[in-house]
Amino acid sequence: MVKLSRRAFLRTAGTAATSLAALAAAGGMHALLEGSQNVGPGPDDAVAAAAPAQESWVKTTCALCPSGCGLNVRVVDGRAVKVEGNPLHPVNQGACCLKGQAALEALYSPERIRRPLLQTGARGGGDWQEISWDDALQRVAGILARLRAAGQPQSVVFLHGQTRGQMRDLIQRFMTAYGSPNAIALESPDEQAARLAMFVTQGINGFPVYDLANARYVLAFGGNLLESSRHVMAYLGAAALMRRGRPDRGRLVAVHPRLSLTGIKADEWVPIRPGTYAALALGMANVIIDDGLYDKDFVRDFTFGFEDFSDDGGRAHMGFKSLVLDRFGPDQVATITGVPAADIARLAGEFATNRPAVAVLPLEPHGLDDGHELYTAMAIHSLNALVGAIDSSGGVLVQRYPRLAPWPAMAADATARAGLAQPRADGAGSSDENLGAGAAGRLADRIRSGQPYPVQALFLQGVDPVHDGSAGPDCAEALLKVPFVVSFASTLDESAAHADLILPASSFLETWGDDYLEGTGFAGLSLHQPVLESPVGDTRDVGDVLLQLAALLGGPVAAAHPWHTYGDLVQERLAGADVDAAALARNGIWSELSYPHAAPGSPAWRDVVGRDRLNAPSDGRFDFFARELFAALETPEDAGCLPGFELPVAASDATAEAYPLLLISQGLMTEPAGWAGIIPSLQECYGLQSNTRWDSWVEISPTAAAAAGLASGDLVWVESTAGRVQARARLYPGLWPDAVFMPGWQGRFTNVRWGRGAPPNLQVGANANALRAGDGITRVRVYRA
């Protein structure tokens, strides 16, 4: 393959050293900036000739959200000055969202930690001392070596967030070679539920991919499809195509208690009582089955558990049809969900008769948020099987991946084998990673209780569980219980503030790497490469740090990691049979841009239904009745294997009188999932409907506000059993009357003076996550501050 050298990339990716005679030298502009009283040239003024600037465009891949868009970065005289979308990239097709536009504010952020930091006083106290990388790595390696020598490699936990391309495999490999089963992805219950629902129904261990571009009817449950969903950029492009890019106009329906930009721009917003998506999906299934509108051939030939059945032992089991016909009649569902029965019937009819139709699960934190996310996700995904939208154009696809060069063989020594045989620290069944997902939210609890064993060292990468509560409540306390915490934070987020040591990660604009084309279905790769000659500070790529730690540890850990840099590792993997490296280098992305649809029952069908099943037969049938769950559950009952609905505890519990409102969550377009620091321009357009900048707000319905005597702009407390936070009330008619909404990203601390008159230390808005009392929906009351 073509050698992926950095210089070659810079040459092929950009126009080398364009001479722009009329472009003023960067120094000239900076002179202007220093004395801002100087008068800049007006657009009509003659532009002074100046020394030619060195200008190039570098192709790379964004990591500020899971979309993974191709970027084209303008670099002038060694400074990255503008981001555009890469037109050749299938995810964003030349477009670039506001987060990508503001990525340079993250790259050059004054909040960035530029050298390794050691906390010298009490953790959380904020006494930091800069130390060298050598010193920092020696400290980490020393502790890792000591724990391993003591036969406790399992006591090391690596907690990570979004990972790209080869990175997750590298983390897994490092931890495996070291001897710990605790490489833990901090995935939200909603994301885990989507993955798990795909697995127990369709037998595919992965997120569903939705072919919106070819769908005639798109029914999006929960989440925020066109603002914060996992593949938001692909969906935005597809939604535009549905409307104006093809002869038959598609219809987009958004189901959520809150009217987001998705709901506003959709063809229809269906407001629904918080936590009742499953009932609506099953109510729609009731109408579709009762009226005979389902795909009878598909259901008969390629699904399991639609009708009641008897197992091999002669025991009778309930099927999906009986479940929905007996328990989810439209009137009953209307009472549960607040969606009128006539609307349920109409939506069901529209969904079943405007094929290809697809029911979309939210693949994002707090997308379902009802405490029973798996059964809710199964209910929603079952609608797709009813209309035969499995692997068909306009339906649910299965993400394809390119064949890469194999990882080199790795031998675990006796210490590693003993460590790997231990249970996972978060309680997930490590021998069964498919069904073992879903435990990360209990990690903080388990660390505090020292179960199943004390955690001695914890790595935090790309996560801020103290802020967002994703590892469970009271996470700061859990971190303080761990003797040694290492963070790879780029800015001093709330979790890093409780670490012993910060090994500041380079940003995605400074490192080598790769990404798959997730969300498109296509097998292919997208390239990460540094846009600058050297990182902005003395930061390092997390992959490089792991390789350096492996080398310091020596022995089998070092032997398992024969690469000098993460870039070398990526290059070796990408030398696989499928990859056109020259195209990847030239275009920043390589893919055949085609998806191999499998016809039901064809040999390829087993790639899309049943492929990853462990205990259920891979017979090419979609499970309405999840045989995988039947095999996995200790005391399987039919209700535990079928989609289902339970009223979220919070909707009916004993605190209902004192806390009459339901706090709901929804991601926003302006929230960067991949950056825990302040991006000032995102703050300046943060809340569109509420016209809020640099702050939080509490959205409350006019009826609830009237009952509480509140007006828009009032400073209020929002209080739950877990705590209270302050924000300004905004009356918003696009909200379920008993619900309140607060943005979940805000409430971060910054030590930078952002703009004239701003204080040097600031908490930007309020942290709504502090109100969460547990799984599902939180009850709150709102009163004037």
Binding site: A95, Y108, A240, C685, G734, A758
Partner: protein, 228 residues
């Protein structure tokens, strides 16, 4: 003569505000920060304006992305006492910052509220100055002048130079503003309204087309296409 105009299809605009920030990063509008933002001094040439009406369960929310409308009969130009704001021969409404005296008559006269006053010299946290666009047309504006969307006039100049360097004639399709390039729904179109065959001309004649506050007689060169 070329007459630059824009068409925004509200059916494909999802109000993501990517235009807003593409504009900021291209044109070096400063970070206002929490204090100045609270005083309404955020400078974003290309905002999305929300309007919320009606009641649950069927509220009406309209979201209008709003660049300068580059009016053919611009109110701002009529009221400028010093000729700092002007319309050039290709129809772009621009500001000569060195002539502007900061009287802000234009900010009041503009029915679209697209004009922003620099209450103080533009500021960034020092580290963020590294990413500023070095194009001379977008050098940060001094205190006391009014600024606004220029349809990224620096890109027009660079496109002309690029065509000349390639030894070919400049074409209208060589040039698009930053907001058009970045648009996530591919909802923005840009081109020559005087060319009857251009895409923007054709779309501007669509039955879905309308302009903001046409009754003001300003003759905007930004057309919107109705949603649905």
């Amino acid at each position: 003569m070329t007459r630059w105009g824009m068409v925004i299809d509200l059916d494909k605009c999802f109000a993501c505000q990517s235009c807003t920030l593409a504009c900021r990063m291209e044109n070096n509008t400063p970070v206002a920060g929490p204090d100045q933002a609270a005083r309404g001094r955020t400078i974003l040439w290309n905002e999305v304006l929300p309007s919320i009406d009606g009641s649950y369960p069927r509220p009406t929310v309209t979201l209008i992305p709003r660049p300068c409308q580059h009016c053919d009969s611009p109110a701002c130009v009529r009221v400028c006492p010093v000729g700092a704001t002007y319309k050039n021969e290709e129809g772009l409404v621009l500001v000569n910052y060195s002539r502007c005296i900061g009287c802000r008559m234009c900010t009041v006269a503009c029915p679209y509220q697209v004009r922003y006053f620099n209450w103080y010299p533009p500021e960034w946290p020092e580290a963020l100055r590294a990413h500023l666009n070095p194009d001379p047309e977008v050098a940060p504006r001094p205190r006391g002048v009014v600024e606004k969307c220029t349809f990224c006039v620096q890109r027009l100049r660079k496109a002309r130079e690029g065509a000349a360097a390639a030894g070919r004639a400049f074409q209208a399709t060589d040039y698009i503003p930053a907001c058009v390039q970045t648009c996530t729904g591919h909802a923005r179109y840009f081109g020559d309204l005087d060319d009857p065959d251009s895409l923007v001309s054709q779309l501007a004649r669509s039955p879905r087309a309308f302009r903001l506050q046409e009754e003001m007689g300003t003759q905007p060169k930004v057309y919107y296409l109705k949603q649905g």
